[in-house]
């Protein structure tokens, strides 16, 4: 620290060694500023690594053979195995010791059966996980699409028309998000059972749509508010109807908002656990509550759990990655108005 003031002084006297050819404030190219910047970068990298450790852990556990997955201290080097994934996709059972020799001699075994055999198990049939992943996809994508669509219409109306009690309505819409889901699961469970919506795709879509809608209305309203109404007025005098103007002018302009809203809604409904656990049994059960249910069969199948979680991550990661450019705008919307 003793050197820094001296360096700052010499900088003030002589300036930087190289000519400054970019637009920058003087204090940002002073020697201390550069050191701070480097320190900040290192901190960011360390933070990122710490954040990614669980993901790394999950990914490696998914491909570790079972003994390695539970060994302590954890193994860094191991022979990859498909055990976890096979356990995830297939129901297995231990082969009785008497049949084992006979089973091993069979030549018609499939690749998956051979892999299972290494642990002395046979395949009984496909597990329910794939079906649940499909449920997750159906329910979360449909509810996201619905929430964005309905949210867009509502947000447009709130943004462009004078609605009596507009602020009260908006507050009411937001207030649906103020209770933690767990608080309302019991009453909703009772309704759903009475209405026959328990364990149905429709019921879950309805619930997630309703939940995401408040968020969608607020976020999209912010985006639509930023689109000058002159664009629509120009379209109106150009001979288009209000609806056409909305479709041709407003819609393309709020793609950013739609994308951001869609990602956030999708992440919510994709990860939702409490409602899914309480309101689905078997038919419409989504992936989140089914992963912990793998705990039971003959010890904890950490490999399968990790494999299930890993697969579960992938769709959301893809969608988020594809729309990543919109997300930052979505998070900071309204912060920078022109």
């Amino acid at each position: 620290m003793a050197i820094a003031p001296a360096r700052a002084e010499s900088f003030a006297a002589t300036g930087p060694a190289e000519p400054v050819v970019e637009s920058v404030r003087v204090d940002q190219i002073m020697p201390q500023a550069k050191a701070t910047k480097k320190a900040r970068m290192i901190l960011a990298v360390i933070t990122a690594i710490v954040m990614l450790i669980p993901v790394y852990w999950m990914a490696t556990t998914a491909i570790k053979p079972r003994p390695d997955a539970v060994s302590a201290p954890p193994k860094i080097f191991f022979t990859p195995s498909l055990d976890g994934f096979i356990g995830l996709f297939f129901d297995r059972s231990q082969i009785a010791p008497g049949e084992l020799e006979k089973y091993k001699e069979r030549t018609d075994l499939s690749f998956v059966e051979q892999q299972a055999l290494i642990r002395g198990m046979k395949i009984l049939g496909p597990s329910k996980y794939v079906g649940r992943l499909v449920n997750s996809v159906i329910i979360s994508f449909t509810s996201t699409a619905l929430a964005v669509f309905l949210g867009l219409l509502a947000a447009y109306a709130f943004s462009r028309y004078e609605i009596p009690g507009e602020n009260d309505w908006l507050f009411f819409i937001l207030s649906t998000r103020m209770l933690p889901p767990v608080v309302v699961t019991i009453p909703i469970f009772l309704w759903y059972r009475a209405l026959g919506l328990y364990d149905t795709h429709f019921g879950m879509i309805l619930l997630y749509t309703a939940f995401n809608l408040s968020f969608a209305v607020w976020l999209l309203k912010g985006f639509i508010d930023e689109i000058p109404k002159e664009y629509e007025e120009a379209a109106l005098v150009d001979g288009y109807s209000r609806m056409q103007a909305f479709r041709k002018i407003v819609l393309p302009q709020c793609v950013t908002g739609i994308a951001a809203t869609a990602v956030f809604s999708l992440i919510f409904s994709w990860n939702e656990y409490a409602f899914a656990l309480m309101l689905t049994g078997d038919k419409a059960r989504t992936a989140p509550p089914s992963i912990p249910s793998m705990l039971g069969v003959g010890g904890i199948e950490w490999g399968s759990i990790a494999a299930g979680s890993l697969l579960f991550l992938i769709p959301v990661v893809i969608v988020t990655f594809a729309l990543r450019n919109y997300l930052l705008r979505g998070v900071t919307f309204g912060a920078i108005r022109q």
């Binding site: 007025e233 120009a234 109106l236 005098v237 150009d238 001979g239 109807s241």
Partner: protein, 363 residues
């Protein structure tokens, strides 16, 4: 092309008038400028003509037809916005073609008509660009092209040059005027810039506080303002106004100056005011510097305008007025300055009613 007629058209926002009931008839092919300070109701008036704003009272006629309750899309008007409102995700070509697509014209027709206006406005090199890449002047050319392409009955322009740099503004002013002359299109043009209004309008509608103050040719509103607001608002600087006491052909100014009212005005002043306060108004160019002029004062400031100078003269009444003087004479600060007023260019106002007083001959 078409005539536009407003009959007792008014607009209220809540309980306040944005535009008080007004009548206005715009002839086929006329270029009418709505002029006034911001918030005076000129844009609201324009929007009522377009159908983007519903009227509170009165009727709007286009070509004799009552269109008061027809939506904007069914009125056959083109609207040019101050901030252009070019669709940011479309190219220049798509922007210009957009109005034609609403009527499902064939590709060939659209292409031909777009090309016509593109040549007219000399924007061919821009066709493939997006609006974000254009300069202000080019954006406005594209916006004009988009309004022209449909061949509407009339053009409504809302401060189309307001967002441009001074340099572009003058060039575009000439272009719009030339376009108007070529197309002979009925045009209503909103601006708060009185120089623009004077330069472009066949007629000017001066508005203030939701009320039409005067409708007339640029020369009329400049030389014969109907009230103090118009006198002060038109011109740069506006009309110089001095208040004095009138009696028997003389105006006694504070500070002791006495102005002998020209013969032609005496009867009117005697009738309108008799004895009492009067406002004398004159343009800076109506002042004639002369050592024995009735208005005496001293030079407070000097602006060189190139061809002439404008003297800020501090009168004995302490009021400062602007007076135009020839350049071939040097004036010292604080030197005494006296001037007379050109008899034909002096105007009188009644300070109570704010209205202009006109001599018998023109009344």
């Amino acid at each position: 092309m078409a005539t536009i007629e407003l009959k007792q058209v008014a607009k209220m926002f809540g309980t306040t008038y944005a535009v008080k009931p007004m009548d206005l008839t715009i002839q086929d092919g006329e270029f009418v400028v709505l002029l006034g300070p911001s918030g005076c109701g000129k844009t609201t008036t324009l929007r009522m003509i377009s159908g983007l704003e519903a009227v509170t009272e009165g009727n709007v006629y286009l070509d004799g037809e009552d269109v008061t309750w027809r939506p904007a899309s069914a009125r056959d008007v083109a609207f040019v916005f101050q901030f252009f409102a070019l669709y940011p995700r479309m190219t220049v070509y798509q922007n210009i073609a957009f109005p034609l697509e609403s009527t499902h014209e064939s590709k060939e027709v659209i292409d031909r008509r777009v090309n016509e206006v593109v040549d007219m406005l000399r924007i061919r090199p821009l066709l493939k660009l997006k609006p974000g890449a254009l300069s202000g002047g080019d954006k406005q050319r594209v916006a004009l092209a988009r309004s022209l392409v449909r061949r509407p009955a009339c053009f409504l322009m809302d401060e189309p040059l307001g967002a441009l740099d001074a340099e572009f503004r003058e060039a575009m002013r000439a272009e719009i005027k030339r376009l108007h002359n070529e197309q002979h299109a009925t045009t209503v043009y909103v601006t708060h810039d009185q120089i623009e209004a004077m330069a472009m309008g066949d007629r000017i509608v001066v508005m203030s506080n939701a009320v039409v103050q005067q409708i007339g040719t640029p020369a009329e509103v400049y030389y014969d303002p109907q009230n103090l607001f118009v006198a002060n608002f038109i011109g740069s600087p506006g009309m110089q106004l001095m208040e004095g006491d009138y009696s028997a052909g003389n105006a006694h100014m504070p500070g002791g100056n006495v102005y002998k009212v020209p013969q032609a005005w005496r009867a009117a002043l005697d009738r309108e005011i008799g004895q009492g306060k009067v406002v004398i108004g004159f343009r800076p160019e109506a002042a004639e510097i002369s050592a024995d002029g009735p208005f005496t004062g001293m030079v407070f400031g000097i602006d060189l305008h190139g061809a002439y100078v404008v003297l800020h003269v501090k009168l004995v009444s302490d009021q400062i007025v602007q007076v135009r003087a020839p350049r071939d004479h040097t004036y010292g600060l604080d030197a005494s300055a006296c001037f007379d007023l050109n008899h034909d260019m002096v105007r009188f106002f009644n300070p109570t009613t704010q209205q202009a007083i006109f001599p018998e001959a023109s009344a």
